[in-house]
Amino acid sequence: MMPLAREHELHAARSGRNLAVGICLVLFVVLVFALTLVKLGSGHQMEAFDHAVRPSLVESGQ
């Protein structure tokens, strides 16, 4: 069986495809990170129960 040449066109096509998928994944991560910063920065829920009473998490009258 003939071995594949070091730079067969199959390799070029695959590396191009892998690069495109890689770039898409990086862009997706950046987008989700930016979204997280915006959502948290614009006053969405940032506090949660952490075993200590916090007036801001307790409804008034309780």
Binding site: A13, R14, G16, R17, L31, V32, L37
Partner: protein
Amino acid sequence: MKRELTATPAADLGVNDLLVLLKPRVMSLVIFTALVGMVVAPVSIHPVIGLASLAFIAIGAGASGTLNMWWDADVDSMMRRTRNRPIPCGKISADDARLMGLWLAGLAVVMLALAANLLAAGLLALTIFYYVVIYTMWLKRTTPQNIVIGGAAGALPPVIGWVAATGALALEPVLMFALIFLWTPPHFWALSLFMHDDYARARIPMLTVVRGETVTRRYILGYTCALVPVSLMMALGSVGGPMSLSLAIVMNGVFLLGAVNLVRRTDVEATGDRYRAERKFFRFSLVYLFLIFAGLIADVFLRPLASSWLPLF
């Protein structure tokens, strides 16, 4: 009835093939109309949330295109216009394309719900379902009214853009929906006039194949007339303005003249000049939609200058 596809995956898949699978032309129209819906909405959206929403709407459109190509691979292989698509060419298997489409659809809907709101995500899910199941799987091969009813899927993106910004529905996005819904039949029937043989070969019951060219030309004129009041209502409403109104008047006039010209032509004349007027009408339909929507964006920026403009409703 779906027919068996004989092509088998052979050649290696390139980046371009993946892009083609997402139907980039349809995607660009979806992005543009969704952007308009978002920009003309009375509530401003944070640029990052807007950009993310547009990206997920685009991914949803790409998923729809991929699933459409998966289901239609058999008819695509019979049509000149579509036979070089990745699945009929054997560059990707139909199963892989289906998997890719389903994953992208799920990702787009979930991420839009997180980025914007549940209503926008629900509308995106509805759009994907409508395009893939109602139009592609059911209507396309069963009725000559396929693109009329199926056109609803292509008309939803500006509504999703509006809802992503405001979180609610209103009259304005409904008018944008109506405009694209009524624009779709003349656009696709003009294409099917000069691609008549392709559809006949693939046994797709387009109006041109089932009822003939003369009837199709009359239908084109009918829908073009119906576009006029909708585009004028939009231009005179709260999202419109002087630019929208001027563009609506000019573009509707030219589009109507084109439709009248198509009705006057006979099959012999059309064959004689290789459907020159029909091709021209098809190209102009794209310009029409682009400028009508671009006018709405222009009015957003002109509004502070045109303070005397009073919307009728």
